[in-house]
Symmetry: C2
DNA sequence: CTGCGCCTTGAAGCTGGGTTGAAGTCAAGG
DNA sequence: CCTTGACTTCAACCCAGCTTCAAGGCGCAG
């Protein structure tokens, strides 16, 4: 029924993480407990997608606890379901702010990377929009 | 010459961080050593902007060490200047990836926040683009 | 039945990013 | 003078997020 055939090592390799990290995630409830074959964890390919989502969420500034709440398994009708909506509403502006900040930083980096000037004054990484030293 | 009049407490308050964090940043070289008046740190308003840049960079996934390298004080002509360019080139695609991932997460959150369905199946936070359960 | 490779667990250790606490300094005010 | 309050240093502590270690299990090849 579940074509859970992947071992933890395979999943880790494909998702670009480590087996120990996956075990850790399961321990703290960020990932669900997988099927077992004679004690060993077995995964479906969906687990890889889930890990990638988890990675993206982490990069977006979510703590593991938040990803657990947001992307954990909640069935409809549970109080958790409503809680997820609330949390999502809370996090939305934070993610928006992150995107905006990251875009600003991106501009700075682009300027720095593109700068071949002899003196940093002309292309300094600093001063996102600050005048200073004028 | 330097109109450094702000105390660490004032800067911390305005930048939305803590005095101990600022001392820590100075200790590890992420921020430059400020002027002193009878032992006490004094800052110009530029310090607040710098702290805000630091915060943005952190949110964008930079380690403090990276911000030290990127946004630290390098004078023109130093080897560091070139190193900054290299690092900036390295980080650019990472920041791009971050922005993309964050945008994806944003979509997920927006869906979740907007979902008033009774059952999570219709609006589940999971499955960014995965079919699954089909 | 031995070795190999990958898996298991639990506990302990590590790194980054700070915070907290103790003990002391300085300037102003009563 | 002495307190008050915001600052100073240094070391110790804390938390999240893993990694590493020790001791052992399972299945397969030789």
């Amino acid at each position: 029924m579940t074509d859970a055939t992947l071992t933890i090592g395979e999943v880790a390799g494909q998702a670009g993480t480590s087996a120990s990290a996956i075990r850790y995630y399961e321990r703290i409830g960020v990932l669900p407990d997988p099927d077992r074959v004679s004690g060993q964890r077995r995964y479906t390919p969906a687990a890889i997608e889930r890990l990638e989502l988890l990675k993206a969420a982490k990069r977006a500034g979510f703590t593991l606890e938040e990803t657990r709440l947001l992307f954990g398994d909640h069935d409809a009708g549970t109080p958790a379901h409503d809680h997820v909506r609330t949390l999502a509403e809370q996090k939305l502006p934070e993610v928006d702010a992150l995107i905006e900040h990251a875009t600003q930083i991106r501009e700075l980096l682009a300027r720095a990377a593109d700068c071949h000037a002899e003196h940093l004054d002309e292309c300094t990484v600093l001063q996102p929009r600050a005048p200073a030293r004028g």
